[in-house]
Symmetry: C3
């Protein structure tokens, strides 16, 4: 199995780095977007990511059922999941049991045949947020990142477009 | 002397990493908590940390007088201070002279016989906070981290549960 | 050419590190401050930086026209630009075309004869900011850092006063 976690801050070049890693494997790459185009800001971001990637990717929109999507797309090229923090945010909004969903993902990853590259965000390196919801989210994101990093073969931390190898 | 500083973001796995380091030394480890159980959120966090650590630690609650606590517990197992940012916050609330207290700590650390492992937070990697108090705090935390890192033998930066060696 | 980018969080020791790098080159170093002394908080910060650096620097205040300042000061000692995030903020306030200005800088840097050391901030590792302006700024800062890191010979990420080599 090949499971690569690419983490970093906003606009650190994580997605681009993950695309490079995904393309390095044989087969047509699959782009699993956890974003839904719900507003203009998100629309524009999705369009920009797509323009950079090019048209040779299989595309899936998967806001919630990530394990199912990985199972369904297994067997061909690498899967790029962009990104886990948005997926976590979707789980919280949908009032799903996020710790259980994260654990299901952690259990499913080592069983994948085709490579999986997962993009996530570091959100816990600023000042403690005022509102309780933001604190809950950053705690959840930190725990998720630790859990997925533990099952990954490789973990990279991207700063200013440059990856540091964590694992 | 052995002084190890473990830094990182919220829920990055710093405390767990620091516990591993503390247990690697001979003798019964001492847990020096700078947190006070003042609200339910903090209560719950303290209980969770304790459950993970197990019962074989000597425990101390030290919101302010860290140098005195280090002196009193010196001579046996390693001391784990969790965490410096909360200590700093306590100093600010109590209107103590925090730069002087940080300097006292920096001077006391090299004189310790038993190992000291200190956990701290990186809080300066987000957007500049709106309110002046938060800006003051993140500036103070950054200066404290530099000061303690300078006297430490080892400094680790933990991201997604994985330590990077800074020193 | 020598172009060194030093990045990190607030009060991480970036400026001090950049000063050490700038002084390592022959010739009188040039300090290019992008800060303007508009309020007491900034005044105090500028004074503190100056006290630390000492009096042997040529000083320039350059809130906007960075490429011109680099051209004018080329040929002698190293130039230290402190810092790019403030410059970006100045560009946004002045309603300049910031992506074009960042590109102009990226194009000008490899043509410099004397070394250039640039300080910047990582601002994207906290929770997503509530207000749209802050989101725009952190996106712009991230893109700027990637662009300048790409043309730099060396990139360092400073945490707790300790540099990690990214490039």
């Amino acid at each position: 199995m090949t499971v690569i976690l690419v983490t970093g801050g906003a606009r650190s070049g994580k997605s681009r780095r993950a695309e490079v890693r995904a393309r390095s494997f044989a087969g047509q790459p699959v782009y699993i977007a956890t974003a839904e185009a719900l507003d203009a800001e998100m629309d524009e971001r999705i369009a920009r990511h797509r323009a950079r990637r090019g048209n040779d990717w299989i595309e899936r929109e998967v806001p919630l059922d990530l394990v199912e999507a990985l199972t369904e797309t297994d067997g061909a090229g690498a899967r790029l999941v962009d990104c886990l923090t948005l997926w976590l945010s979707n789980l919280l909004h949908a009032e799903r049991d996020w710790p259980q969903e994260v654990m299901r993902l952690a259990n499913a990853l080592p069983r994948q045949q085709s490579p999986v590259i997962l993009v996530t965000n570091e959100v816990g390196l600023g000042i403690v947020p005022d509102n309780a919801l933001a604190r809950t989210f950053r705690d959840a994101a930190g725990l998720m990142n630790q859990t997925i990093a533990e099952v990954a073969n490789e973990v990279e931390f991207v700063v200013a477009g440059l990856p540091m190898k964590l694992k």
